[in-house]
Symmetry: C2
Amino acid sequence: MKPSKVLMSDVAKAAGVARVTVSRVLSDPDSVAPATRAVVQEAVARLGYVPNLNAGTLASSRSRIVGAIVPTLSNAWFADTMDGLSKVLGAAGYQLLLGQTGYDADAEEKLVDAFLGRRVDAMVLTGTTHTAGVRTKLQKAGIPTAECWDLCDDPIDMVVGFSNEAAGEAVAVHLLAQGRRRFGFLGADEDRARKRLQGYRAAIARAGAGEVTTHSAAPPTSIDDGAAGLAQLLTVEPRLQAVFCSNDTLAMGALLECRRRGLAVPGDLSVVGFSDLPVAAACVPPLTTVRIASRELGERVGQLLARRMRREPDEVPRIHDLGFTLAVRESG
Amino acid sequence: MKPSKVLMSDVAKAAGVARVTVSRVLSDPDSVAPATRAVVQEAVARLGYVPNLNAGTLASSRSRIVGAIVPTLSNAWFADTMDGLSKVLGAAGYQLLLGQTGYDADAEEKLVDAFLGRRVDAMVLTGTTHTAGVRTKLQKAGIPTAECWDLCDDPIDMVVGFSNEAAGEAVAVHLLAQGRRRFGFLGADEDRARKRLQGYRAAIARAGAGEVTTHSAAPPTSIDDGAAGLAQLLTVEPRLQAVFCSNDTLAMGALLECRRRGLAVPGDLSVVGFSDLPVAAACVPPLTTVRIASRELGERVGQLLARRMRREPDEVPRIHDLGFTLAVRESG
DNA sequence: CTGAAAGCGCTAACAA
DNA sequence: TTGTTAGCGCTTTCAG
């Protein structure tokens, strides 16, 4: 058959021990006498034994797999989060089963079903908005679950992120302090972007600076969406003084459009992005943006989940606010 | 226990049929009489039955999981490939188990072991250089395997990519045609970048244009590596006329450094990148680069693997050259 | 089209 | 420390 069909019983026979002993050498070497252990390890190596982890999972109901669901890997920020998560989990002996929703809530629920069917030991979701089914299923599965890239009061289990509203507010406050009065918002049509807009709008309203001209594009958004979006915004409000883009990709498009039109940034228009991609600092002019530590976010999720899966007695807090910082550069 | 403990036998009982019948309804509905099928489906829904896929895998030795290994997800090009792969596989009913090597060949072998232990139905590797163990294990596992992002004559099973040497040559030819004579290369210290350099260097040598000044940085490379690298190159060869960077990130750094030094691009120096990230076109000046269809590459791998896993009689070719194109913009 | 029997390969208890 | 005895929950034959 497939992989040379070496079974644990073959190793046991070769080593002159029982199967359990082989199993122990593999999963908890210290529980076996050094001499026995050596014999078994030699047999494992000599026969090229590859344990069937599915059988192990079935018997122990622990899979050592963590399921993670993101809208798309094409956005560098989610990819970075998965990079950090995968690195930490890998080091802790877990594997990553990854799914993409394409920003579709029903797709998310299907993935949750499939992952739960694999008996994943933990789950990672993006955002805090899910179908009712996702919530229920995950809750009754009773596995550690982390929602990330946002915050909420009542997570399924844990949330790890930052407040998108607060970030939007911070941008507005920054722009208002520069004396800007006519605001625009260029956003991806998705949940977290909408929250950023809420915060932004609220702070602007509070300052009595009037309406925010908005435009949104279907995610995943591109540089071209940003350019076209800004053009649209300027059609509606030619006197625009500042635009907050819900991600750096859109902001780069906006910058591009300004260059094409000969609009001075930040002279005529302030442009602010979100997430602080590495390119943000290399843009012309360097992009002011909200810095989110995407990779660290993933690492943090990995550490928290690993702790929970170890089932140690320590209580792990449910809400983890990692915050954000405004990276003020030249564009706004 | 965990998920409400609804077993297939419970569903069978509720529906008044045998377990096999439930199994059939789930895996091959058409093999069951419509009436029976309906009863079973109703019971499945009513009880909220979630099949344990691990048990299924153990019994059938088909996991419906594909393992994929990339150096890192932090590089947009690999993330895009995984995005495409995951999308296609998901649609075909497969799940993606993802691992990162951090450009470490031994890490790759460990991941292969772990994935094989899960009895993945297929494997995807990045590049064509692997430890001997990886090759042997995958071959004797006998599962469809795709190596990608490069080409070679003797793949483990299939290769899907393009010739990195040929791409390097094409860049050199393009630059030579512009009359450039003093060449530099800025590369990540990894296999595929080295192949690009080989092709580049060969074409330059063939044209009698002398030595290539090179500098390399440890991957994953950053924009800062690109800036520092160019500075280093200019120290060694101040009269540099053209620099080929092994990826767009490095090229963006080089562009940045030129701006800082007041070097005109392409007037004083041509800068060429690799992979054609979306930002390449938005750079100042727009970056000339080698376009690789990263996402399509992943989609293609997914389709090929799906075909092979279906075990249809059609022979699938082993070598798939997807090619590349030179995206000539203003930087070189 | 449906069912009965026989595992898939491993780990969890418990015993020795 | 090591071994024995039972399954984990499903799918595969093969009958009926």
